[in-house]
């Protein structure tokens, strides 16, 4: 009898469960890694304590990160962080204090995610971990609390949309433009309940930072998760953070497995894109009208990595600086990234260019830990969401673009929309 041909998600979930499952199947799955942020941890830990079904000696399977709330800007943050630290100490979870970085970045750079793992985060951008060939679902706090307490969660195996990447991105574009293009094609719910599985010769041309950006923002098409193959780039990244090849298993994507839909992306035709205000339903190439810009925000789990910030600095350096009246805010996605940039002189250069540099974390992305834009302010940002009020003020306008496009807007003082 022929072995079932499985998609990446079916393969990984089957392996986790110990028996074959296919899209649509529902089962209680063992979870290898579960992450909560200070946004979701209080409720998750309350649930975990209420359910209490196993001895909580958790090793590095449970990860608690202080990234959404800044103790300098809200009095409730300190109490949340103390509660998380206490739980971690008592039960052996990994704990990252405020300023360490964004949870999703820490999960990846500190080795909590390995290829072939089934993981959860109580944050919708969990699928970021798919860049390393893991399956990750974003869930709510109660679901995560149950997973912490029992090591399992009931899940439905999603269908798959296979996205075939061909060729490489032109020099003027970045991974952010690729994922904006994908969202433009799919729409905000086009990938609903499906995993986006990236295959094709184009994958090899994308570095890990680029795959992280794409997997992260793929959720804005309604995708349940996103996943990339494991290749030499993955191995090199993991080896660089001390994760040896023999600590994770080899698995293959079977491109003959049946999927809901197949898309092909010709990377060489991707152009710089920008979203309209308040929603991702409108995504256009740049040449059009000019919109004056007040704030350029570089950061978040989508666009706050070293390669993103270096791309920004290169544009500013070549242009001799930013326009007067544009506020440039830079929030590195982790302290490690900030240290790497500091060692390369990039942080000093950013300061000389007049940038405000935030502590590593979610910053202004959802209006909780950074500067909040004023009424009538136009922001262009490397983030993944621009809903009205997203950065803390419904009377500000947010456009999303790649780090390079954002840097260009900082130089010009306007963006073409």
């Amino acid at each position: 009898m022929l072995a079932e041909r499985r998609t990446a998600v079916e393969e990984i979930m089957s392996h986790s469960l110990g028996r074959p499952v296919r899209s649509g199947d529902v089962a209680w799955f063992p979870i290898a890694m579960m992450l909560a942020t200070d946004g979701s941890a209080p409720a998750a830990l309350r649930t975990a304590t209420a359910v209490h079904r196993r001895r909580l000696s958790l090793g590095d399977g449970v990860v608690l990160c202080c990234d959404h709330y800044d103790p300098r800007s809200t009095q409730f943050a300190g109490a949340r962080h103390a509660q998380m630290r206490e739980f971690a100490t008592l039960h052996g979870a990994a704990f990252y204090e405020f300023g360490s970085g964004i949870g999703h970045q820490l999960a990846v750079e500190r080795g909590h995610v390995r290829p072939g793992m089934l993981t959860l985060a109580a944050d919708s951008h969990a699928p970021t971990y798919g860049a390393l060939g893991a399956v990750a679902f974003g869930v709510g706090a109660t679901d995560l609390g149950l997973a912490i307490a029992t090591g399992e969660l009931w899940l439905t195996v999603p269908g798959t949309i296979r996205v075939r990447l061909r060729g490489r991105l032109p020099r003027s574009t970045m991974a952010k433009d690729l994922v904006l293009d994908l969202i433009r094609r799919l729409g905000p719910a086009g990938a609903a309940d499906c995993a986006l599985e990236f295959v094709g010769d184009g994958v090899a041309s994308l570095g890990i930072d680029e795959r992280l950006t794409i997997a992260n923002m793929a959720v804005e098409s309604g995708a349940a998760t996103a996943i990339f193959p494991v290749d030499s780039a993955t191995d090199a990244y993991l080896s660089g953070i001390g994760i040896h090849r023999d600590t994770y298993r080899d698995f293959r994507f079977d491109e003959r497995a049946s999927v809901c839909e197949e898309l092909t992306v010709d990377c060489s035709t991707i152009e710089p894109l920008v979203s309209g205000a308040h929603e991702l339903a409108v995504i256009t190439p740049l040449p059009s009208g000019r919109q004056p810009v007040d704030v350029v925000y570089i950061g978040t789990c989508t666009g706050g990595r070293a390669s993103d910030i270096v791309a920004v600095v290169e544009v500013l350096r070549a242009a001799g600086g930013k326009a007067d009246g544009v506020q440039l805010i830079v929030a590195p996605a982790s302290r490690s990234i900030a240290e790497e940039l500091s060692a390369a002189g990039i942080v000093d250069e950013l300061r000389r260019l007049g940038a405000t540099i935030l502590a590593a974390g979610c910053g202004s992305c959802c209006g909780t830990a950074g500067p909040i834009p004023g009424d009538g302010t136009v922001v262009v940002s490397t983030a993944n969401r621009n809903f009205k009020g997203r950065m803390g003020n419904p009377r500000a306008t947010i456009h999303l673009a790649s780090p390079r496009t954002c840097a260009r807007a900082a130089v010009d003082g306007w963006i073409q929309v």
């Binding site: 959404h68 409730f76 709510g140 905000p188 719910a189 809903f387 009205k388 803390g392």
Partner: protein, 182 residues
């Protein structure tokens, strides 16, 4: 509460409060509001503030939110489901729900009905039969159209019938304990 799978209550009459497609959780309650909130009650005045600032004050006893496709998209914040329940809504009815919002609503005991072809206007009276059953029906009193909500999975019905995820899991634990004691 009725026994699992069987509705013991007569039809319920709801008033439709209509929203569009792709209503995201940031619109339901802004992340910024959560930052300084001590409890759910303090968030209620801000429900839908960015798109319908008058809504929070206007919720009445039989109201349900009616959404289009992809209701609850965006952030997986559970508080979005919690505030809709706490503000007194009887249910959310939509053409489709985002996966994370759906799970969160089930977990906090906010009833959801998925009706892909639903047509409703603001203020319509919607008559629901079998709200606790496997596949409730909904009639729009104004148009006369009768709709069947999509069936929910056994696990989802089990969680809803138990009153939420924690009671459901604890009831499973009791069954496991009973089995191993025998």
């Amino acid at each position: 509460m009725s026994a699992e799978g069987v509705s013991a209550v007569s039809p319920v009459h709801w008033r439709a409060r209509v929203f569009g497609d792709h209503i995201n959780t940031d619109y339901i309650i802004a992340s910024r509001r959560k930052r300084d909130a001590a409890d759910i009650a303090s968030l209620l005045p801000y429900v839908f503030e960015a798109i319908a600032p008058e809504f929070a004050r206007s919720v009445e006893a039989s109201d349900v939110v009616v959404g289009g496709v992809n209701f609850g998209c965006g952030s997986a914040m559970e508080v979005a489901a919690e505030v809709l329940k706490a503000i007194g809504l009887r249910a959310v009815v939509a053409r489709s729900f985002s996966r994370a919002f759906y799970r969160n609503a089930v977990n906090v005991g906010l009833p959801l009905l998925t009706i892909p072809v639903l047509e409703a206007q603001e203020g319509d009276v919607l008559v629901c039969e079998g709200v606790d059953s496997a596949a409730p029906s909904l009639r729009n009193d104004r148009t006369g159209e009768l709709y069947q909500a999509l069936a929910t999975s056994d696990i989802v019905r089990g969680i809803v019938a138990a009153g939420g995820l924690i009671p459901f899991v604890n009831s499973l634990k009791c069954r496991d304990d009973e089995r191993s004691a025998r």
